[in-house]
């Protein structure tokens, strides 16, 4: 370009004019920004746990007037130390989607009509009472969430289990971490991890079992990367079924065939024993050996029942059991080279290395989910690498309060806030704290999540109230459960913030206050409880889920059990709830402490948090020297003999591909919140099917072309992603489930772990066709 004097001056003038305009005039809007009126006094920063994953980052939300305007990581938090991920930084934008539900809606003559919230709550209470009168108390159900605030889950459990007297309370966390719970209970007798995130700075080796932390727990992943950078000998081993962002950052990526993690874990134990790496001092004092049932089924049929039976055995029985799992044998099943199995075993076996194992959905969404949890604990127990800084078998939860609201409050059919409904002492305790007759609490569990939706389909359940979750996207074998929910004579209440495929089938939609629009608590993966105050006003006629349940309970005649006022109900409920956990094994921090700090870990005893449980040095509940696994009557952690068993459905000649499903960095679960955040939607606008490049080439599928995926249950057409963010091995495809336009769960199978009842979203057989 030729620059003459005149055009040079023109250019300069334009530049300086633009600069002058941008710097001198207040109120100039940059780009497409719509700016807010400024409140006097500047921005006020308020603490809250993040709305999204189970990491439980503490955020500081910047508030100007009555609007949330900015986010930064809370530097006081030991979880994220001031860092967030892209979802966290933009999390406040989930409050402001244009189609926010702000009024109650009731179906009248097939159309949703706006009504006052009080009228909708009246209808919910009346409908519940009518259903109980006509069909019995087990015909009404509550389906909640690991994104429930702790008080939401607590009042739901109190109303249904204590007042109405039905155990029909479940939460979507059943789909997310039930196997982690049964894994903990069968091995240690008590739920939730023994370690904490500080293990990340202390470990020498990280093994991630079938999870993709770079996208699903990004803040913890970057903590791991920082550890490796600071202490250069640190190794990260990614053990998974497909290549992900995490595999690329790891020092080693080892791929195994779906389901064969069971065999590999046993082979690692075989190697540990045969190389003399067993920590005998630890095993002799703190472990015992047990065997359970085998050939335990997959639960794909209605009314499936299974109860495990433990048989105590000795070390020799364990050693003999492992004879089938030589690295060479397991190489044939798993596709993992024997030398890689030996490498993994050597890392676990090296007495000078501290090892932390992380896992999430790969191990939990597994038809042998409880078993694989047990087997990874076996490795840590044999080597004594547990309950001490850096040595940690660590199950990460997916949701912000899966631990806080589901595992700790016990919003599952068999659970109470303390213990289980089957135990008379636990029922007595609940009846006393809840101020209900003990006979109210039914000693028999009813339906776990999959069976609950089957019961809705069959007509055994007639009324279901769904809060903070989107089962019409997330249920496996979705078509059956959607058709079932839409049948004549079913009444579905949905508490929601935005329209979703679940609110589409509702008879009543209740407008919910979201996250920082109300006061509440979340509990994260490392036993940390975090409080948030109400930071911005509730929009429109929205109310908190806790308040919705309390109002309905009162309308049903349970005023005595729900006496709290609108001003203090969250604090009052907390004070009642923590009576359930008042022992050194689980004591929760008082309200005042939670209000002050960016999260507190339980057990909170004599003003101190417990970072490592079962270790006498850190855990005041220990009665023995060094370690005390006090959850079990024998004060030992249980090593389980759990064999490899094949999955419920494997690829065959008709359906030759594995289908694996999961999440992506940008979207939270079904995307009902994150897809309304501009940057997150723009970065990840729609779902896709990842296909291995060799498979794609063989079938003539090109990047972005339409592919039809079909299983025995359903099919859908979506775009192919080849060499995209992740890369499945040959014979496997991967589909993210966030996109309601592509309901991949119409294709998945509703097989589940018979012990945990958690479905397996990672394995079923499909075929691919060019579409």
């Amino acid at each position: 370009m030729k620059l003459d004097r005149r055009s040079f001056i023109k250019l300069m003038a334009m530049n300086s004019a633009a600069t002058a305009a941008a710097t001198l005039f207040p109120g100039v809007s940059f780009g497409a920004w719509s700016t807010t009126e400024m409140a006097s006094g500047g921005i006020v920063w308020k603490k809250t746990p993040c709305r999204f994953c189970g990491t439980g980052c503490s955020l500081l939300v910047g508030v100007s007037g009555d609007r949330a305007v900015a986010v930064k990581g809370d530097p006081n938090s030991t979880v994220n130390k001031g860092l967030c991920c892209v979802k966290g930084y933009h999390s406040i934008q989930i409050l402001y989607g244009k189609d926010r539900i702000q009024k109650a809606l009731v179906r009248k003559n097939g159309k949703m009509v706006e009504v006052p919230v009080a009228e909708a709550l009246d209808l919910v209470a009346r409908k519940m009472q009518e259903t109980i009168q006509t069909h019995g108390k087990d015909a009404v159900a509550m389906y909640g969430s690991g994104q429930w605030s702790i008080t939401d889950g607590y009042v739901a459990s109190k109303l249904f289990k204590g007042c109405i007297g039905t155990n029909n309370v479940e939460a979507n966390a059943r789909l997310c971490m039930a196997s982690a719970v049964t894994g903990c209970l069968t091995t240690f007798g008590l739920d939730e991890p023994m370690g904490c995130y500080e293990d990340i700075e202390k470990a020498d080796v990280f093994v991630t079992w079938g999870n993709n932390m770079a996208e699903m727990h990004p803040v913890l992943f970057s903590r791991m990367l920082a550890t490796r950078k600071n202490r250069t000998h640190v190794k990260i081993i990614d053990f998974a079924t497909r290549t992900t962002r995490s595999s690329l950052a790891a020092d080693r990526s080892i791929l195994f065939r779906p389901q064969t993690d069971l065999a590999v874990a046993n082979a690692i134990c075989y190697e540990i024993i045969h190389n003399g790496w067993v920590n005998w001092d630890f095993v002799n004092k703190h472990a015992s050996f047990h065997k359970g049932k085998t050939n335990i089924g997959y639960g794909t049929e209605d009314h499936f029942k299974f109860k495990d039976k433990a048989e105590t055995v000795d070390f020799n029985a364990f050693k003999t059991f492992l004879d089938d799992y030589t690295p060479e044998n397991v190489e044939k099943i798993s596709g993992v080279p024997a030398k890689d199995i030996k490498y993994l075993a050597a890392l676990y076996g090296d007495p000078d290395k501290k090892v932390t194992s992380f896992w999430t959905m790969g191990m939990n969404q597994h038809t042998r989910g409880t078993w694989i949890n047990n087997l990874v604990y076996n490795i840590h127990l044999l080597t004594g690498k547990i309950s001490s800084p850096g040595n940690s078998p660590f199950s990460l939860t997916g949701q912000p309060s899966a631990c806080g609201t589901v595992r700790e409050v016990g919003t599952l059919t068999h659970k109470l806030p303390h213990g289980v409904v089957m135990n008379p002492d636990h029922r007595k305790m609940a009846a006393r704290i809840w101020d209900v007759p003990v006979e109210n609490i039914d000693p028999k569990p009813t339906y776990h999540t999959v069976e609950m939706f089957r019961a809705l389909d069959r007509g055994d359940i007639r009324f279901m109230w769904i809060q903070v979750t989107n089962p019409m996207v997330t249920m496996p074998n979705l078509r059956r459960y959607r058709d079932g929910a839409e049948k004549e004579g079913r009444f579905v209440v949905v508490s929601e913030i935005y329209p979703t495929p679940t609110s589409d089938i509702a008879d009543v939609i209740l407008p919910s206050a979201l996250w920082i629009e109300r006061e509440g608590f979340f509990g994260n993966s490392e036993r940390r409880t975090q409080h948030n105050e109400q930071i911005v006003p509730m929009p429109g006629e929205t109310v908190s889920n806790t308040w919705q349940i309390m109002e309905v309970a009162r309308k049903m005649g349970f005023e005595k059990q729900f006496p709290w006022s609108e001003e203090t109900y969250i604090e009052d409920i907390w004070n009642e709830y923590i009576q359930f956990h008042d022992s050194p094994k689980h004591r929760m921090a008082p309200f005042k402490v939670l209000k002050e700090r960016s999260g507190v870990q339980w057990p909170y005893v004599n003003g101190m948090e417990t970072k490592w449980r079962y270790n006498a040095k850190y855990d005041p509940a220990c009665k023995q020297k060094d370690f005390d696994f006090y959850g079990k009557k024998d004060h030992r952690a249980w090593i389980w003999l759990r064999p490899y068993e094949p999955p419920a459905e494997s690829p065959d000649s008709e359906y030759p591909f594995w289908l694996n499903t999961g999440r992506v960095l940008e979207h939270w679960h079904t995307g009902s919140m994150t897809r309304r955040v501009p940057i997150l939607h723009k970065a990840m606008p729609e779902s896709y099917v990842e296909i291995n490049p060799d498979d794609a080439a063989r079938m003539g599928i090109t990047n972005g072309s339409d592919v039809k995926i079909s299983s025995r249950r359903g099919s859908l057409v979506m775009k192919a992603a080849i060499n995209g963010r992740g890369n499945p091995p040959r014979g496997m495809v991967f589909v993210p489930f966030f996109d309601e336009k592509y309901l991949i769960n119409e294709v998945t199978l509703d097989a589940f772990c018979p012990i945990s009842k958690q479905p397996d979203y990672k394995k079923c057989a499909v075929k691919l066709e060019r579409a």
Partner: protein, 222 residues
């Protein structure tokens, strides 16, 4: 061509005239601008993080050549800078083509740690103020579409106003949070910096001897 240039020239002359006329108004406005409004117009800086990682300034300053420090480029504007953010201080999205991860290891830092001229994009690379975080794409994402899923009723606060010296010619205080943005050199110096916020005295390496955080503590009162 000649005439159109003349026309434009007149337009700019008129604009300059308006600017001159508006100047007293601006001065008046600046003088009458109450402290409350000034406070409101910026993101509060946090005292606790003021000196966190402040050593990075000296390290960066030492590591950079004189020619880099003095480098200028007028390509990056504040408008462009803010157009990639949802609010002042939020992580910007990635405005250029990036390889998907399965191609190779994430390599953002090869360019964004040190900066410099990039031949493919024909411009100087902006430098990250927090290269210690290596999982870049945990926060920075690339855009696949311009469309929204549904509209949003989002309102952002204004970016901090520039030139907020307390006295004529005095050093302006730091108007933004220092958390993850504590290395002044990364954003305020060199050819990759945004022109409007680039300092004209890059050879001085102890930024915070003159520029202090604006903490909105209000005025001292006994």
């Amino acid at each position: 061509m000649e005439t159109s240039n003349r026309k434009l020239g007149k337009v700019f002359l008129a604009f300059a005239g308006i600017c001159v006329l508006a100047l007293p108004a601006i001065v008046f406005w600046a003088l009458s601008y109450g402290p409350d409004e000034i406070e409101a117009a910026t993101v509060e800086t946090s005292q606790t993080t003021f000196d966190e990682n402040s050593a990075t300034i000296f390290v960066s300053h030492d590591a950079l050549t004189r020619s880099y420090l003095e480098g200028t480029s007028s390509q990056r504007t504040l408008e462009e800078y803010y157009s990639r953010r949802q609010y002042p201080g939020s992580p910007p999205w990635i405005p250029h083509k990036v390889e998907d991860e399965s191609r190779e290891r994430i390599a953002c830092l090869t360019c964004h740690e040190k900066g410099g001229w990039t031949e493919t994009l024909k411009r100087h690379t902006p430098v990250t103020p927090h290269p210690e975080n290596t999982s870049c794409r945990q926060c920075h994402v690339k855009m696949e579409t311009e469309d929204l899923f549904v509209d949003i009723n989002w309102k952002s606060i204004l970016p901090p106003r520039l030139g907020r010296s307390h006295l004529p010619g005095g050093p302006p205080p730091i108007p933004h949070d220092l958390q993850m943005r504590g290395d002044c050199i990364a954003c305020h110096v060199g050819p990759g910096a945004v022109a409007a916020i680039r300092v004209d005295h890059p050879s001085r390496g102890n930024c915070r001897q003159c520029h202090v955080p604006d903490s909105f503590a209000g005025l001292f009162q006994r």
